[in-house]
Symmetry: C2
Subunit: 269 residues, 2 copies
């Protein structure tokens, strides 16, 4: 028996999340089915995380055990032949037989993507959340700082959580802004005046969060809270009292799943 690790990417749009559920297509379900078929064994992957319906991933991690003699690094090639195009194994490798991806300390990174424009853009609407009002990005960046470090994040997790300990550590949280590369649209003269496309061009606003673990919906609630800061409903300086209040009602709404992407993991040696 050997243990194989898969680094998995997926477009979560058409799936009911990672975790297997009866009568629904899930990432875990597809992987188990395709691995079992490939190897003629009953394979059940053990995932590092369970992402919700609609959430995407670039570097999800899972492991499984097999009697197969296929070399660890070849599983990616073999699986990608039969996986649907919205799931891909980015890399595979043999790992220690006792490596359990949920029991080893790690740093986990998520990205929450906002499309800041009047309307969704069709070529990224599956992966971004539209905000069409003005956003004070400087205020959002200030607010990020207050989330850093070790805190009780009870205000920042779904009330439908039943973990005992709501303390987590955020190692990094920052925002990156990417203006859309577009052309100046000057066309269609009316009275010989040039119509400019936009005052402020469309931009993608990516919120990156890295921590030692995340409570249920924590990143989506951080994103919703930062959106509230950007729209002026919450001040950046309010974040510490929101955390101290240990009350979900103090924070922002849970931002939609489609804007969230699991970027990846770093496991400690």
């Amino acid at each position: 028996m050997k243990r194989i690790e898969l680094i998995v990417a997926y477009d979560g749009t058409e799936y009911a999340g990672w975790q297997m559920q009866p009568n629904k297509e899930t990432i875990e379900g597809v992987l188990n089915r395709e691995l079992s078929r490939l190897l003629n064994e009953e394979i059940k992957v053990i995932g590092a995380s369970r992402t919700d319906a609609g959430v995407h991933a670039e570097g999800a991690v899972c492991v499984f055990d097999t009697e197969s003699r296929i070399p660890g690094e070849k599983f990616s090639y073999a699986l990608n032949q039969s996986l649907p195009e919205d799931i891909r194994i980015r890399k595979s490798m043999e790992v220690a037989s006792d490596f359990h991806p949920r029991k080893v300390p790690c740093r986990k990174t998520y990205r929450y993507s906002i499309w800041h424009d009047e309307f969704q853009k069709p070529t990224n609407q599956r992966y971004t959340h539209l905000i069409y009002t003005k956003l004070d990005i400087d205020a959002m960046m200030k607010a990020c700082e207050y989330f850093k470090g070790k805190h009780d994040f009870k205000s920042i997790c779904s009330v439908h959580t039943d973990v005992d300990n709501t303390e987590r550590t955020i190692y990094d949280i920052h925002i990156e802004v990417t203006p859309e590369k577009s052309v100046l649209q000057s066309s269609g003269l009316i009275n010989n005046s040039v119509i400019k496309y936009r005052e402020r061009g469309p931009q993608q606003i990516d919120i990156y969060v890295t921590g030692n673990g995340f409570l249920y919906n924590m990143v989506r609630i951080i994103a919703g809270t930062l959106i509230d800061v950007g729209q002026g409903r919450i001040k950046a300086e309010d974040i510490p009292s929101i955390l101290d209040g240990k009350n979900r009602q103090l924070a922002g709404q849970t931002a939609p799943a489609k804007g969230l992407t699991l970027v990846g993991y770093i496991y400690k040696k």
Copy 2:
């Protein structure tokens, strides 16, 4: 009667291109249908370009005439309520009644996107062409220079073209490389050695081309030719003789439609 201009974005994956065809879903067909329904008039848009099946757009242009009293800038909001999510009007405006988007000189920009990695990434596989072999990007950038300026591009257009004049002017052509933001994947120790994710990280390679007009498949053939340069089959210095040869066989393959995006137009005053 007034003339309205629409700036249209679309994910071309599920469409048979811009131009209406019987029994197929096309961008033009959807726009005509939704406009006619909205305005209770028979509307036929006049498009600036006809993109092929699978090609995307961020700033396609079309116009139509209407008796409606809806202000020009409101058409975007009205139409976006009923359009499918893979087509969006980014902006609308009233224009001069004689503005014909194919008869006014313009600069038109396309982007051809390559995903340079072992496998497609599910969250961009609809919009990029996978190249998993090594690419000499410096050579590709050198090759770009030879396409600039006014040339007979007969070698760089589909043999199924029936235009008289194959001369066009390329104002700009350049390549932008965006490394993937990823985390160092170190996990699953075997004999205590750390497994690095990749030697060279995944990257998106975008080829931007701006010209006064394009022959059929010209940008996709430029992309295919640059890929040949990147893979060492063609030298950058060969490009002038490829152009002088006026023979389609000398250039590279036509790269797949899914990697192509019409970025937008600039019309002269």
